[in-house]
Amino acid sequence: MQTTEETLQGFFGRMLGDNKHLWAAASTMDTIWVLYDRVLNVSPETIDDPDRDRFYLSKGHGPMAYYAMLAAKGFFDPAMLDTWLQLGSPLGMHPDHTLVPGVEISSGSLGHGIPLAVGTAIGLRAEGRRKPRVVVLIGDGEFDEGSNHEAISIAGRLGLDRLTVVAIDNSSASLGWPGGMAKRFEMEGWQASTVDGNDHAELYEALTRESDGRPQAVVAKVRPKEGSAV
């Protein structure tokens, strides 16, 4: 069942109040929406299935879109959103996978999601599991962290074809990425494309493209918006 704009907007409001613009400004919203609605093979019933798809929110910052989507998909009771950031709430500014049902990794410190995903993809391949995909979401600012580049090189050399990185590019990297991020992935042996990160059809097509044996990178360019700190 597809998630409606009203549902997500309502869930955002439970965390952030009645600001109707904030939810739409979340740079990760459209990607997470497409992934959980139409791409990832994971549900509350299959969250412990070793053959499920994994989604690793690497950048961690601004996880409201993620929480809203997990609540919409039934991973946890939407009432939990009302406790956001309160003492005793599982929902913090950076997700903790030991506290929040449906969250696969604990993140917030930048540059850890891709290495963890590379290890996961290696582990799944070692078990002969060809079905599960491992999808990591990073930001273009996060791309600065050198640890990403260590892991990107390794994934390319090992041909981890079940691994996908979605890089949300809202031009927040202080020194920029001349020529675009996709080129860096391609140099390391990845199959890369750049799409409009606010266009669901483009995102869906890029995120469901069959691998040619290489890991895949999808650079999702989103419009930088004022006040879009989430």
Partner: protein
């Protein structure tokens, strides 16, 4: 003429044990960062999915270990001490501890095995750094025969284990125990010898009326064992550790919180970076943990 005894390097025991473990347990995965990787060439060819050499990329090595653990594997990550613990320390904190997963980290190099390369290849603060994170078991074997049982035990678990290997060894293995082993009993004080410093401690205390405890596992610290020993002697405690001086001092304070006691903590120096090459014996002396220096400082402490 003294008979020559051929000793096996701890590193060799580690390599041989891993070759067997990977072949016999599909849960075990090995991640290296070039160091020692040539010793696993055949193993990597046979088990390419579970034996990975990532090149000189230590941050990724630990992150990948965390990802492997998330899939239920038992990852072992290995390189030289400063590049295993210090360089990727945040990865240890986030990709292992914060993900609530385990791994076995195996270092070589001790505190100063590679003296020609100087400070860059020394990491005497490794155990102290791991002490800032919860849930780490730390093994510091002092004899090559202690390495395999400690590694086998670590591989069978799913917790966070650090196995600290060194070139320096003592002459006789001590049977594996998670508790301190009582090697001598005396009344004037208690000397705790950690791993490879044992021979020097035994020589230094040969003429002293002290209890000597030996530990190849220093975390968790055997607080009960220290309390027993300190209760049966004067509570003069001497810690001799092959890494940063005083690393286990907080443990002694906790163990004897309600017991008036004195503490002498010995190990590598905290007050200065020793900028010198030479031999290990020279550095033992520079740090005050050779047998002669130990005999002097322990005798003076006991009064």
């Amino acid at each position: 003429m003294t008979a020559q005894v051929t000793r096996t390097l701890m590193r060799t025991v580690f390599i041989d044990t891993m070759i067997d473990a990977v072949a016999t347990d599909s849960r075990v995965a090995l991640v290296t960062a070039d160091i020692s990787s040539w010793s696993f060439d055949d193993l990597r060819a046979e088990y390419p999915e579970r034996v990975i050499n990532v090149g000189i990329r230590e941050q990724a090595m630990i992150g990948i270990a965390g990802g492997l653990a998330l899939t239920g594997h038992r990852p072992v990550a290995h390189t030289y001490t400063p590049f295993l613990i210090e360089r990727p320390f945040e990865q240890i904190k986030i990709c292992l501890n914060h993900q609530d997963v385990g791994a076995v980290l195996v270092s070589i190099g001790g505190s100063y095995d590679d003296l020609p390369r100087g400070r860059t290849h020394q990491a005497p603060g490794d155990v102290a750094l791991l002490d800032t994170l919860p849930g780490w078991t730390v093994h510091v074997p002092g004899h090559e025969d202690e390495v395999e049982p400690l590694l086998r035990k670590a591989l069978a678990g799913d917790d966070r284990v650090y196995l600290r290997l060194s070139d320096k060894v003592h002459s006789e293995p001590v049977p594996l125990s998670g508790e301190f082993t009582v090697l001598r009993q005396g009344g004037a004080g208690v000397v705790v010898a950690v791993g490879p410093v044992l021979d020097d401690v035994l020589a230094a205390t040969a003429a002293l009326d002290v209890t000597v405890l030996y530990a190849s596992t220093i975390r968790p610290f055997d607080r009960a064992g220290l309390r027993r020993a300190a209760g049966a002697a004067r509570a003069n405690v001497v810690l001799v550790e092959p890494y940063l001086r005083g690393t286990s001092a907080p443990e002694v304070a906790e163990a004897l919180a309600d017991v008036p006691h004195r503490l002498l903590a010995l190990g590598t120096r905290r007050d200065q970076e020793v900028r010198a090459y030479g031999k290990a014996a020279d550095h033992d002396r520079l740090h005050g943990i050779d047998a002669e220096s130990l005999a002097g400082s322990i005798s003076e402490f006991l009064g």
